[in-house]
Amino acid sequence: MDTRTGVKVDETVAVAPGGLAVPPERRLIAISPLNSRRWENFKANRRGYWSLWIFIVLFVLSLFAEVIANDKPIYIHVNGKWFFPVFATYPDTAFSDKQDPNLFGTAADYRDPYLLDLIAKEGGSMAWPPIRFSYNTQVSKPPSPFPSKPTWLLNEKDCEFAATHNFAKCGDLEYNWLGTDDGGRDVVARLIYGFRISVLFGLTLTIISSIIGVAAGAVQGFFGGWTDLLFQRFIEIWTSIPSLYLLLIISSVLVPGFFVLLGILLLFSWVSLVGLVRAEFLRGRNFEYVQAARALGVSNTLIIFRHLLPNAMVATMTFLPFILSSSVMTLTALDFLGFGLPPGSPSLGELLSQGKANVQAPWLGLTGFFSLAIMLSLLIFIGEAVRDAFDPRKTFR
């Protein structure tokens, strides 16, 4: 008797003599009512729903980082020809029909005032990205030694200092919304690129380690016995290796790049889902509908994929946002310690460590802190909403 949980479907609902008013159509991608109910539940959690949208918008924007923050124009139209410097490299001679002794045919530097003047003289037009710096562009006219303040924070005293110490005058500055770091690079640009690389890294790591973890858990849970026993002991030994130290050692031997780091972190991150999926499979393989499938003569592989995996996916889906945020954190931590991505690459961890090294420049530390805090909070809010949406007990509310 489960009358306490609510009211059940009426006995005659689906067998009405006249049949259903509108028979449901078979679509190519049918969203099962279970999933659509979950989606409704997810939407009902306003915080998680908005977090998801904000996160998606930020992520999609950051995917187009090259046209948002770059030291190259998006297009140049000169002498009847179109150039797209963001996507292709052109020699500087390409922009002039005449022989100019100051152009050498090397890759064009669009921050060079001479080249810009030349294009303007030829009657060309160009469109710049909203932020005219890439992650590795050095600001050429700073008002102070690096790191320099956000431009809108400059006051009389700073201008005076710039004038007396041979720095760029206040009227003649490039605009740095969040200042520059100690390498003279625009913080906003680095933030956008850093966010992208963090999320991409996190997503890749999450997806690959989930695939490995689910597969390992499925094999253990479904076959049980010796397979399970040996695998479990192996995982116990594996997880008892202090992974951070190993990471430090490996990254001092190998040149750390995106994929090397991914590989190293993958060595340890796949374990997190195994226990969960294994438990789901251990539970699921004795369900009556699995027994029924066996009685029908369905093969093991098919039982795993059709009957058991969908169940385990619920647990996996619930954990994914949390794994994603922990992956992002791991990368940030490694970057902060200086064992992460190669020097010069944009990364939030590196921004934080700069903030630590330059306490007199709070815009570095604060930017790093807030961007990480907001990103991780969004992920956690999404994670909470997903978890609640998959919670079967919520459906009776």
Binding site: K8, V13, G297, R397
Partner: protein, 545 residues
């Protein structure tokens, strides 16, 4: 019994609603009834009719504020209960009104001894401690018929049988000598033999202590045996109430009439001694080894099925009965080769014992199974049509999509479901409909032999009768051979042509059902029948306690 003279509990216009706004669901709709002192009132109805919710709202045990009462009053000994604060109602709960739940497995805390659990109640409501409390606990356990209570004080719930656990629950409910005990399907999870014992205990205790009893059940047999008055509930309303004799002999409301007529009609397929043998097993054994020690040495066996020989002919129904743990289901699974066993199994003239999973596949479309739990036996993530189709994919991979669909539609029509519903998912169906889907999955392969593992146990009375009719109808139309496993002897009597009585994995007796029901040979079978049909207890030692 004089009812009007002194009312103990009076429920007036009580409604219960869950949820808020558009999602509000009315579970109980303006019910009114009284319980007199020393009286037994039964609330009957199918699942979802609101009987448990009604009972729980008397004690304010519903999940407030998600549940609320749009109307009504509950007056107990002159006091309105619905408006009491949580602290005040706590004083009434467990003291004046107590409750015994259905599931004895989960209503006791598995980590505490029964002494500790009983002592907690005595301490809370009477302030008894130490020796005094212990003496009272031994007394209580003795009252509810736990043998040698002093030695069982340190026992944990898992060391007791289901019946004993329910006795402990009753002892807990009796501890403060309540005026009213609410029993929420206390025997549904128990065997018929144990059920008879618990019912007897409840009746005796009630007489001795003069308390009132509100008994919630879906089983009309129990109502007739136990109650003074009965309230019939349907869809949240009490459609009829009155003295048991009157309601049973002259029901007024059509729903009550329907309910009373819902007994499965006995019309079993006749035994056919000349028909070809479908299944033959000889001295079949399923032993699970007990391993101990570091070297996992086998020290003994749990003999789930111990030397069973059966012959089943085409068109017959073999009823397999026995208490829980007697090996009924194990026997069914072993015959279908879903668990490993010892001893020859001959199916359609071929030995299938020892065949590998792949070698078994050609036989699978001839042997099918329907499970007990309509909620667990259908994958929640597949549509009905996918579920039914699955077997066709395995056995007829060359079949065209249109042909497959036609088979699915035919199977659904056969089990009395609207084929248009085939793209829906299992959770949109009720228990009875799900069981029909499970049946459709089995018959879509056009099997010869179907094992029915308690297919009606989880269903309501009305649906049970429909299911029995459906099974019989299918058997006639398709010349099916059934192995019908059940502890519900009324259903078995309606279907079985031959009967196999199991106890502890061994055959107690077997033979033609008609004769066996008339003249059982063994004490065990007699006790089983008495408990099932008349709810009478057997002398000690014949059945498990």
């Amino acid at each position: 019994m004089d009812v009007s003279a002194d009312k103990l509990l009076s429920v007036r216009d009580l409604s219960v609603a869950f949820g808020q706004g558009e999602r509000e669901v009315l579970a109980v709709d303006r019910v009114s009834f009284d319980i007199g002192k020393g009286e037994t009132v039964a609330l009957v109805g199918e699942s979802g009719s609101g009987k448990s919710v009604t009972a729980l709202s008397i004690m304010k045990l519903l999940p407030y504020p998600s549940a609320h009462h749009p109307s009504g009053s509950v007056v107990f000994k002159g006091e309105e209960l619905l408006t009491l604060s949580e602290a005040q109602i706590r004083h009434v709960r467990g003291n004046d009104i107590t409750i015994v739940f259905q599931e004895p497995m989960t209503s006791l805390n598995p980590l505490h001894t029964i002494e500790k659990q009983l002592a907690e109640i005595l301490l809370l409501h009477q302030g008894l401690t130490g020796e005094q409390a212990r003496a009272r606990i031994v007394d209580l356990l003795g009252q509810v018929g736990i043998p040698d209570p002093a030695s069982r004080l340190g026992a944990y719930p898992h060391q007791l049988s289901g019946g004993q656990r329910q006795r402990v629950m009753i002892a807990m409910a009796l501890a403060n000598e309540p005026d009213l005990m609410i029993a929420d399907e206390p025997t549904t999870a128990l065997d018929v033999t144990v059920q008879a014992q618990i019912l007897k205990l409840l009746k005796d205790t009630q007489k001795r202590m003069g308390m009132s009893l509100l008994f919630i059940t879906h089983d009309l047999g129990i109502v007739r045996k136990l109650a003074d008055r009965v309230c019939v509930m349907s869809k949240g309303r009490i459609v009829e109430q009155g003295p048991v004799e009157r309601v049973f002999t002259a029901p007024e409301h059509p729903y009550t009439k329907q309910l009373l007529a819902a007994e499965p009609k006995p019309d079993p397929a006749p035994p056919r001694p000349d028909a070809p043998v479908i299944v033959q097993i000889d001295d079949l054994k399923v032993w699970f080894p007990i391993k101990r020690g570091v070297m996992r040495k086998v020290v003994g066996h749990i003999k789930a099925v111990d030397g069973v020989s059966v012959q089943l002919r085409k068109g017959e129904t073999l009823g397999v009965v026995g208490e829980s743990g007697s090996g009924k289901t194990t026997l069914g699974l072993a015959i279908l080769r879903l668990i490993s066993s010892n001893g020859p199994i001959v199916f359609l003239g071929k030995t299938i014992q020892g065949l590998k999973f792949k070698e078994m596949r050609p036989f699978r479309h001839d042997m099918q199974i329907v499970f007990q739990d309509p909620y667990g036996s259908l994958s929640p993530r597949m549509s009905v049509s996918d579920i039914i189709e699955e077997g066709l994919w395995v056995h007829h991979p060359e079949m065209k999509a249109a042909a497959r669909e036609a088979r699915v539609i035919a199977a659904l029509t056969d089990v009395g479901l609207d084929p248009e519903t085939r793209h829906r998912y299992p959770h949109e169906f009720s228990g009875g409909q799900r069981q029909r889907i499970a049946l459709a999955r089995a018959i879509v392969l056009e099997p010869t032999f179907v094992v029915l593992d308690e297919p009606t146990s989880a269903l309501d009375m009305l649906i049970q009768a429909q299911m029995v009719d459906l099974l019989r109808d299918l058997q006639k139309r398709r010349d099916l051979t059934y192995m019908f496993i059940s502890h519900d002897l009324r259903v078995v009597a309606a279907l079985a042509s031959r009967l196999l009585v199991l106890r502890n994995g061994k055959v107690v007796e077997q033979g033609a059902a008609a004769e066996l029901f008339k003249a059982p040979k063994s004490d065990y079978t007699r006790a089983l029948f008495a408990a099932a049909f008349k709810m009478e207890t057997a002398p000690e030692g014949v059945v498990s306690q």
